[in-house]
Amino acid sequence: MSDMNQVVDRIIARHPGEKNLIPALQEIQGELGYLPELALEAVAQRLKIPLSRVYGVATFYAQFRLTKPGEHLVQVCRGTACHVRGSQVIQEALAREFGGDGRVSLEEVRCVGCCSLAPVVVVDGRPFGRLDPQKAVSVVRGAL
């Protein structure tokens, strides 16, 4: 736990003040992989603001995760171009294949801006385009 406090201290020292709450939370998540409850409490304490404000911000933005993610992050793009080119079927195929696999966190993202390569899946930060359900499954399997 002291590790986590050190992380929070170091990051808050670099981003002092309430107006830097978002960059601070982004960096904390960057190091810890998510925002544990205790980290949010520590941030509130250091910045001398109510925990409800910190929690309010952390839950408002899609980027922040309050639970520990799996080893591999798989993001299925659900933007318009991907949607009309069948991203829903891809998402279902991935959920069937990896839904019970603790190593994989399956998320939806709104749009990664690679619309012309739709449908797109981002695996551990790497985008893959022009997929179909079978290709998507094999791309994810290749990353494990």
């Binding site: 982004q26 911000v57 933005y61 709104r110 619309c115 390569l117 022009r130 179909d132």
Partner: protein, 616 residues
């Protein structure tokens, strides 16, 4: 080293030119996000290896996006005389093959996409004569895919930062006047006159002012801002320097989505390089003008594209809009006068300062001069980023530049402006794309996302998809948006699930008008657009759903799959891929689908070699 004079800038320009057009020739790979998603990194690697192992003289470098996403990854061979040859759909093997051909002086016209300059005898078409580029006028995108975005000297080689130098040596009023005369309108969607906005901020009282670049490109289906930030970040920075000088601001923010990691990276490098050369910081270019830029990573909220929500977000709060007035030009970031323009608007500014208002007005319409970038995606052959004069007919854009829908399908509609825009039917293709005409037709320019839809798209389901998006992205502050969109979504969901009720369409319309008229911000006010336009232009499709039929065969409760016995060879491929065990049959005999078990995923259709499975 800080640049202090025009001579300093000129010296860097010459240095940049030798990087841009090296005497030994250069092989370039487009390494923006879409290039990378289609495998550009492996292509780049292959060229590096080939140059190394075969002792070729070429340099290998990276560049931004050329816009022709359908042909990514794209590589380029560049000569010192500014001749360029492009090769599309690259992969590792093709890269190795090309490199060895180049070493023998063979330009491989058989693999080339097009050329700029060079010799007609090469039998490579001119890039400008390819249908995708013919109708385009690339101004903002001109240097994307030409320069290395990670080296400020290549931007300067193309004349970059000369406009800033020029502006900083003029009275701020004159800089502002030029933008006003150019008639530049905001490219973020609403089309507010940029010069007017700057003037309001300039005349607002107080010594402290801000300029902000809105790069929160949240519209799913639009990515021109990403491409500009990745491929030519300095054009935005230079625009902001000019704007800050004109309005009297000394601090700026670039708000960019965290979902665009490459854009964030390129921006950070660009800002650092500009600081190093004294183009940002204090006493810029030997003047007394000082200006700093901060980069703020948006944490993922569509509503932050709304300017007051974006400001709240930079201030460290939930991205909730507030009522206007006061407008940000009077009271914006930290309560100070603030100009917010989007990425494409800022990127237009240096062009106007450099070439003048008259030049700018040579394209576009008299009310909306200049060009607009659209991202052409969906069911269209040439997907990509296209820049055309405002006022170009919609049909020309889709059929000529875009090449129409693939596989001979019929064009059905175009969704313009994302979840805030509307669906326009194929009959309206002669419409000239302009802020006013699009609004009249029930859509809007929005950010420039243009998703082409063919006969296989269900308009009711699409309306449901957009509403699901806006409903989830509603900040929840005002009831019309929070509750109204929720009720509308419920109605659309039950219609697409085959449980629509009589009177649903009328109720939907009533709710839509209510949400449109009474919501606090643009998100709520435009959220009903996709529903209202599809109701207006595709009402028969809604009525078919109420009668239990989805004409496009998309809504799963309203169609089923069946195997045509006479076509089925009993190969068993479908049976093996079916995830729900809904296909029964013996080898060599016709199989059948058990409706009750079928989840309508379509996996069987894609593997059937006989094309025996069809929707009913």
């Amino acid at each position: 080293m800080k640049l202090r004079s025009l001579e300093d800038l000129e010296r860097v320009r010459q240095e940049g030119k030798t990087l841009l057009w090296p005497a030994e020739g250069k092989i370039l790979v487009g390494m923006a996000s879409c290039g990378l998603a289609s495998g550009a990194a492996a292509v780049y690697q292959a060229f590096c290896e080939a140059v190394e192992s075969q002792g070729l003289k070429f340099r290998v470098g990276e560049t931004g996006c050329l816009g022709f996403c359908a042909r990514e990854p794209i590589a380029e061979l560049r000569f010192p005389d500014e001749t360029r040859i492009f090769y599309g759909e690259m992969d590792r093997d093709k890269a190795l093959e090309l490199a060895s051909s180049f070493s023998h002086g063979d330009l491989r016209p058989d693999l080339a996409l097009g050329r700029i300059g060079g010799d007609p005898a090469w039998e490579i078409p001119e890039l400008e004569q390819i249908t995708f580029y013919r109708g385009q006028r690339r101004r903002v995108l001109a240097d994307c895919g030409l320069i290395n975005p990670l080296d400020i000297r290549e931007y300067i080689a193309q004349g970059g930062y000369f406009a800033a130098w020029q502006a900083l040596h003029m009275p701020p009023e004159a800089v502002l006047e030029e933008i006003k005369r150019a008639g530049l309108r905001g490219r973020g969607g609403a089309g507010f006159p940029t010069g007017k906005k700057w003037e309001l901020a300039r005349s607002a009282p107080g010594p402290k002012k801000y300029v902000i670049c809105n790069g929160d490109e949240g519209d799913p289906g639009a990515y021109m801002d990403r491409s500009v930030l990745e491929g030519n970040p300095h054009s935005v920075i230079e625009g902001m320097i000019i704007g800050a000088y004109a309005v009297g601001a000394d601090e700026g923010y670039i708000y960019v989505r965290a979902e665009y990691p490459l854009a964030v990276k390129h921006l950070r490098i660009a800002v650092a390089q500009a600081e190093e050369l004294g183009l940002l910081g204090s006493d810029i270019l030997g003047t007394t003008f000082s200006f700093r830029i901060h980069i703020f990573e948006g944490a993922g909220a569509f509503v932050c594209g709304e300017e007051t929500a974006l400001i709240a977000s930079i201030e460290g709060r939930r991205g909730q809009p507030r009522p206007r007035p006061p407008y940000p030009v009077g009271s914006g970031l930290f309560g100070k006068p603030t100009v917010i323009n989007n990425v494409e608007t800022w990127a237009n500014v240096p062009l106007i300062s450099r070439h003048g208002a008259e030049w700018f007005r040579t394209l576009g319409t008299s009310r909306s001069p200049g060009t607009k970038i659209f991202s052409l995606t969906g069911k269209v052959r040439n997907t990509g980023l296209v820049e055309v004069p405002i006022g170009t007919p919609l049909g020309q854009l889709i059929s000529e530049v875009g090449g129409g829908p693939p596989q001979g399908k019929a064009l059905k509609a175009v969704q313009i402006g994302g979840p805030s825009g509307g669906c326009l039917p194929a009959e309206l293709l002669d419409l000239a794309i302009d802020y006013e005409t699009l609004t009249q037709a029930g859509s809007m320019m929005g950010s420039g996302g243009m998703v082409v839809l063919d006969e296989d798209t269900c308009m009711v389901e699409l309306a449901r998809f957009f509403l699901e998006f806006t409903q989830a992205e509603s900040c929840g502050q005002c009831p019309p948006c929070r509750i109204g969109t929720k009720r509308m979504l419920e109605i659309l969901t039950r219609i697409t699930a085959g449980r629509g009720r009589p009177g649903d369409l009328e109720l939907l319309e009533e709710l839509a008008h209510g949400v449109q008229e009474t919501s606090l911000c643009g998100l709520g006010r435009t959220a009903p657009n996709p529903v209202l336009t599809t109701l207006r232009y595709f009402r028969a499709e809604y009525e078919a759903h109420l009668a239990g039929h989805c004409p496009a065969g998309v809504c799963r409760a309203l169609f089923s799959y069946a195997i045509a016995e006479e076509k089925c060879a009993g190969c068993g491929l479908c049976l093996r891929v079916c995830p729900s065990g809904a296909i029964w049959g013996e080898p060599g005999k016709p199989h059948r689908i058990v409706k009750a078990l079928c989840i309508r995923c379509g996996a069987c259709v894609s593997v059937c070699p006989k094309g025996a499975i069809a929707k009913l």
